[in-house]
């Protein structure tokens, strides 16, 4: 019985969205007769068709109103993240603006790193976190002494920090040797002595070398400034300040399917435009949720699709989405009108007047809603009653 029902319901594919079909399947009782099922399905289809958006609906305006109106209710604060004080998160209105601007560098880049199940133990998580965090030699150094006479650098390492990183002084010296050329590196206990290979060079050089050594990355992924393992339900998640999606995904322990960043551009580069569109959706949704506002996803989807429709992430700015409009007058009436008009005249641009604002400018019907359909009456023959 059940199977027959499901097959019958599957027949409605194309008439109903997949999500609703699955919902019907989940809720239909086993003991239902075929006739009632048929009736139910017809009812659902008719309800679905009644609920569809009408042709000509100015859905763009509705979307922008739905997002713009609650904008006044959002907060301006940035929140501190639970745990580490330097981990701020931009929330509320500023974050929304940041997303819609499609800024290349965002103010608080963050990642959520999920781990593969076998690493889901407190110690393992801690270890992974440690390996993710970018640590430079500078942070492990107690002192760097320069001996100008001998042209040597004596690096005094902090043993406890090194041990925390599970590294030995010899590892550090090996790294220095690998990263900076033409150096003699000697390790003596906690100190590393660096001298030139061959003839001594200018004094200035040695300072440069010192800076170079300080900036060598000992451990971790470039750009990950802070790590914070947190427990979510049964699972441990590592939150990071700073983002580097590509390199983090390459880490052995990381569950690449779920790990994300809040940097939409990075997602575009690493995972492609469809992922970026989903990222816009998720990020906006996150803010709205946190603010306790109620905006239907469909509206955010439309904005996200508008931003990502060309294959690149475009902001809702005069350089992005609005700058790409076909109509000169639509662009001019937003910002920098003179520039747009001048440029248009040089190219001899033609404004076909088929969007909203141009028709408002020249007092004509706007091609939306009731202004969309045109009626032509075909007059058959002459009027018969002799009157005009």
């Amino acid at each position: 019985m059940r199977k027959a029902h499901e097959e019958f319901i599957d027949g409605y594919e194309g008439k109903l969205p997949l999500k609703m079909i699955n919902e019907v399947k989940a809720n239909i009782p086993d003991d239902i007769t075929k006739e009632t099922l048929e009736k139910i399905m017809e009812q659902i289809v008719s309800r679905y068709n009644e609920s569809k958006v009408h042709a000509g609906e100015a859905i763009g305006i509705i979307t922008s109103q739905s997002i713009g109106e609650p904008g006044t209710q959002m907060t301006l604060d940035t929140f501190h993240f639970a745990g580490v004080s330097e981990m701020n998160v931009t929330v509320g209105l500023p974050r929304i603006i940041e997303i819609f601007d499609a800024r290349k560098t965002i103010s608080t880049p963050l990642m959520e790193v999920f781990l593969k199940p076998q690493y889901n133990k407190p110690e393992a998580v801690k270890k992974v976190a440690l390996h993710l965090k970018e640590t430079k030699i500078e942070e492990t150094v107690a002192e760097i002494a320069i001996n100008i006479l001998d042209q040597t650098l004596t690096i005094q390492l902090k043993k406890n920090i090194l041990e925390g990183l599970e590294m030995k002084p010899s590892d550090v010296s090996a790294l220095i040797k690998a990263k900076v050329k033409k150096l003699n590196v000697k390790t003596e206990g906690d100190t590393i002595i660096v001298t030139y290979e061959g003839k001594p060079e200018e004094v200035k050089e040695i300072y440069l070398i010192k800076e170079k050594i300080k900036n060598i990355r000992l451990r971790g992924v470039k750009g990950i400034r802070q790590v914070l393992p947190v427990k979510r339900g049964e699972e441990y998640v590592i939150l990071t300040a700073g983002t580097n999606l590509k390199d983090v995904l390459e880490q052995e322990e990381v569950d690449a399917k779920r790990t994300t960043t809040n940097d939409i551009y990075e997602i575009r580069e690493v995972l492609g435009i469809e992922a970026a569109r989903q990222a816009v959706l998720n990020e906006v949704d996150k803010v709205i949720e946190a603010q306790g506002l109620n905006i239907n996803v469909r509206h955010i989807m439309l904005v996200a699709d508008m931003m990502c429709g060309n294959g690149e992430v475009k902001g809702i700015t005069r350089y992005g989405v609005i700058g790409e409009k076909a109509s000169v007058l639509a662009r001019a009436s937003f910002e920098t009108p003179i520039k747009h008009i001048i440029d248009a005249s040089l190219i001899g641009e033609r404004d076909e007047l088929n969007s909203v604002i141009e028709n408002v400018l020249i007092n004509q019907t706007v091609p939306l809603g009731t202004g969309l359909p045109g009626l032509v009456v075909k007059v058959k023959g002459e009027a018969k009653d002799g009157k005009e």
């Binding site: 659902i44 042709a55 604060d77 209105l93 469909r298 040089l346 033609r350 076909e352 408002v360």
Partner: protein
């Protein structure tokens, strides 16, 4: 005038640049003298106010078209410049062209054999990124070219072009005069212009160097006559007369053979005036000023920005048949009505066509005249002539009035009007209401529609518009009427519902009110319900029974109250539970939503009206207020609250001691100081919450508590703050931490970290705040004021950008979502084509359908 209309539609607008030929060709006059008027005050021929350019004085006739003021649209003139000058607005493009073309042969500096290759590249760039990217790409291509100092066509050496801002060009070391410039630009062939992306039919580069200049018609720059009879000219006229004056002098000097230096100086001056005529905000140039020092508003200023032509006059229109005044509430109006003061009703009119059937009615209106209320103001005869109805004309009009005439009659009850409050952030900010003409001076509305308009009555003003055509009225009624806007397209729930007294009234009524049947009957009568067959015949009826009379007989509903009790309505009877915000409130009212879904807008609206009024009536009957004794606690409770606070303060003291002794264990990733702050904040907030709980546990149901429980206004926290303890004042999410050196006020010791010194208010609002507490409270108050003040413009701009980018996105007949150029944005809106306002937050409740049908 006859009743003939010519409908013309504008199909497209093409942009281009005026060539000198066109400028002289369409000019009505050549302007030669800077003088404006002769001694009699008559415009001088060949002056800037020449009547061939149009007229702005009543009585004069335009020499070009013969039209009078308001008939003649104005005509352009021109002046011939003694020496050519550069048009500032094209300077970037000119520079671009100069540095990309050969100084001798005028060809683009790309060898012929490579042109076709690059053309393809450039066309692709244009398609992808627009014309500006194309020009940048040319620069890049040229930069890549190795022998850029030599022309690939004529092999001549190329000098570097430098632009000395704002308007002087140098080629190598030599200054390029506009004359030289012009001849260089003339040499650029059309086919190379295309490579730049320019359209040679619409634009020749030499046209950017002006030899003649169009003079805008006087109608575009009307002078105003001051009270003293003095004339004050428009800024543009001032600027133009400057140009003509200098141009004149330049002519004279050239003809007199004056030394080069003088001519060059005058030439530069002319360039300055022409530049500032186009744009008075050019960097590096001092703006041209009035005698008083005020900068002149020239062409660019007229067009750009919010106050400019485009956004102020073209995108924003002004309308007739509108009114604006202060609003006030009237719960006895229906939700879809608006109360219009009779003063306004006699000024706003509706054109009504006379027919055989309404002639008598209209005659009565005409004979009442324009002053007394239901009357009429104008009559339009079939030949199109308008006649004002006055005491004198009344008789005459009454006599001739016959079918075919149109009477502009006063606004009447039942007319449709659009009602609007700024900022119009929603489509619900402008809805259609039915007019009710009322005495008084304010526009009246039902308080239930305050929410979609975001209106209150502290002096808010609102606008009223009266649609004038049948088509407009039909559209307003079908699309914009309040009942059709009940469901928000943002989240698919009711935006309009019961508020305030209507909520607490229904709450009390349906929870535990009881009254004699007669009283209940009179209350229902007051709502206009005469059929009492559904009211039980008992002597005493409960509030639930009274409320149930309003509901449709076949209505079933299951819901929850705010406190978690089940609400069950079966066959239009409240079986259990009671009404509160979660059933009948706005946004949250689930019962309203299901009423709407089942019975549609036409039935829901009167129902909502009745529920609202019933709540208000019930509350009136019972009596409801709030007074200070509501907030009094018993001595015992007070003591308990105090004890909790004391305990918390003591604990904070201990924490601080621990911190000073270094015993405080810091949380991971935090310093000891931060940990201390967190722990203190936690302790104090706990104490405040506990204090509130104790106060509420007293069990007395005061009016404040009723309001909080029903969800009408306020919450438990508000009551706790008033009755028990206000609690910690937080600034930027922290305790107050600023002010004097190491302390918040000089009243405290330095480094005092105690609760009192950092903004903890241990008093309640009822018991009164100490000066210090009050001061800290004002700090948080100021913070929230600042927050709103900063947020409003930011979110306003975000909204403007969003609506500008999405305004032409619409659903096509095939269900796809497309923008104006037909690009598909989504194949179905929101991936399933569902309209949010037709569903419950975008979800069709499949489960319910199955259960209903089963």
């Amino acid at each position: 005038m006859k009743d003939t209309f010519v409908f013309k539609e504008m199909g497209a607008i093409e942009f281009g640049i005026l060539s000198p030929k066109v400028i002289t060709g369409f000019a009505a006059a050549k302007i030669v003298t800077p003088e404006l008027y002769d001694r009699e005050g008559y415009p001088v021929d060949g002056g800037l106010m020449d009547i061939r350019l149009g007229v702005i004085d009543p009585g004069l006739r335009c020499k070009t078209c013969g039209g009078r003021l308001k008939e003649c649209p104005g005509h352009f003139g021109y002046i011939e410049l003694a020496r050519p000058v550069i048009h500032y607005k094209f300077i970037r493009h000119v520079q671009n062209m100069l540095s990309s073309t050969c100084g001798h042969c005028g060809r683009i500096l790309i060898p012929d054999e490579k042109i076709s290759h690059y053309r393809a590249v450039l066309d692709r760039v244009t398609k992808e990124e627009g014309p500006e990217a194309r020009r940048n790409k040319i620069k890049m291509i040229l930069a890549k070219m190795k022998n850029k100092s030599k022309c690939p066509h004529c092999s001549k050496k190329q000098d570097k072009i430098k632009l000395e801002k704002p308007t002087t060009f140098y080629e190598g070391e030599d200054k390029l005069s506009p004359i030289g410039l012009r001849s260089r630009l003339e040499r650029i062939p059309d086919k190379d212009l295309e490579l730049f992306g320019y359209n040679p039919q619409r634009f020749r580069p030499e046209w950017t160097i002006l030899t003649v200049m169009p003079i805008p018609p006087v109608t575009m720059r009307p002078s105003i006559t001051l009270e003293t009879g003095e004339r004050s000219e428009d800024d543009l006229t001032h600027k133009l007369s400057d140009i003509i004056r200098i141009n004149q002098r330049l002519f004279e000097n050239i003809n007199a053979g004056a030394p080069e230096v003088i001519i060059d100086d005058l030439w530069d001056l002319l360039q300055y005036h022409v530049t500032t005529y186009f744009d008075n905000e050019v960097p590096q140039i001092p703006p041209a000023r009035h005698r008083g020092g005020q900068t002149l508003k020239t062409l660019t200023d007229r067009i750009k920005s919010k106050e400019g032509r485009i956004r102020h006059n073209l995108a924003g229109k002004r309308t007739d048949f509108s009114a604006r005044t202060v609003i006030s509430p009237d719960p006895m109006l229906s939700i879809n009505e608006v109360g219009v003061p009779s003063d306004i009703a006699v000024n706003l009119t509706i054109p009504e066509k006379a027919t055989e059937w309404n002639l008598e009615h209209l005659k009565k209106l005409v004979s009442t005249g324009p002053v007394k209320y239901p009357g009429a103001n104008y009559v339009i005869r079939p030949d199109g002539k308008r006649k004002r109805i006055t005491e004198e004309t009344k008789e005459e009009i009454l006599e001739e009035l016959s079918p075919g005439y149109v009477i502009e009659r006063h606004l009447q009850d039942g007319d449709i009007a659009l009602f609007n409050r700024q900022p119009s952030l929603h489509k619900m900010s402008m809805m259609a209401h039915f007019v009710r003409v009322l005495p008084g001076k304010t526009l009246r509305l039902n308080p239930a529609v305050c929410a979609p308009y975001n209106a209150d009555f502290d002096g808010d003003e609102m606008n009223l518009h009266i649609p004038q055509t049948e088509e407009a009225r039909a559209e307003a009624e079908c699309l914009m009427l309040v009942q059709n806007q009940l469901i928000s397209p943002r989240y698919g729930l009711c935006v309009i519902g019961c508020i305030q007294d209507a909520v607490s009234g229904n709450y009390l009524l349906t929870r535990d009110m009881e009254m004699p049947r007669e009283e209940a009957a009179s209350m229902l009568f007051a709502l206009g319900i005469e059929d009492l067959s559904r009211l039980s015949n008992k002597k005493m009826v409960t509030g639930k029974e009274i409320f149930s009379v309003l509901l449709p007989e076949d209505f079933n509903f299951n819901g929850k109250t705010k406190s978690g009790e089940l609400v069950k309505i079966k066959n239009g009877e409240i079986v259990s539970g009671f009404m509160d915000v979660l059933s009948i409130g706005q946004e949250k009212g689930v019962m309203l939503r299901s009423l709407y879904e089942e019975y549609g807008p036409e039935k829901t609206l009167p129902l909502l009206d009745n529920i609202f009024k019933l709540g208000a009536l019930a509350l009136t009957r019972r009596g409801f207020s709030i007074f200070s004794a509501d907030l009094d606690l018993q001595e015992e409770t007070k003591e308990k609250v105090q004890a909790v606070i004391r305990e918390a303060e003591q604990k904070v003291g201990e924490l601080i001691d621990d911190f000073h002794q270094g015993k405080l264990e810091s949380l991971p990733g935090r310093t000891a100081r931060e940990t201390l702050e967190l722990r203190i904040l936690e302790t104090l907030n706990k104490a405040r919450n506990k204090g509130g709980e104790i106060a509420m546990s007293e069990g007395r149901e005061t009016n404040a508590v009723i309001m909080a429980r029903s969800g009408a206004r306020g919450n438990v926290l508000n009551i706790a703050q008033m009755a028990a303890v206000v609690g910690q004042q937080a600034l930027r999410g922290k305790r107050i931490d600023r002010g004097y050196k190491k302390r918040t006020l000089s009243y405290f010791a330095q480094n005092d970290l105690g609760p009192e010194a950092r903004g903890f208010t241990r008093n309640s609002f009822k018991s009164g705040l100490t000066p210090v507490e009050f001061f800290f409270g004002s700090m948080t108050g100021r913070e929230s004021l600042m927050d709103t003040a900063l947020r409003t413009p930011k979110s306003g701009y975000l909204y403007r950008r969003l609506s500008n980018s999405l305004q032409d996105v619409k659903v096509e007949y095939d269900g796809t979502v497309r923008d104006a150029s037909g690009r598909i944005v989504q194949f179905q809106f929101g991936e399933d084509g569902i309209d949010v306002s037709k569903t419950e937050n975008g979800i069709i409740n499949v489960k319910r359908i199955i259960e209903d049908m089963k």
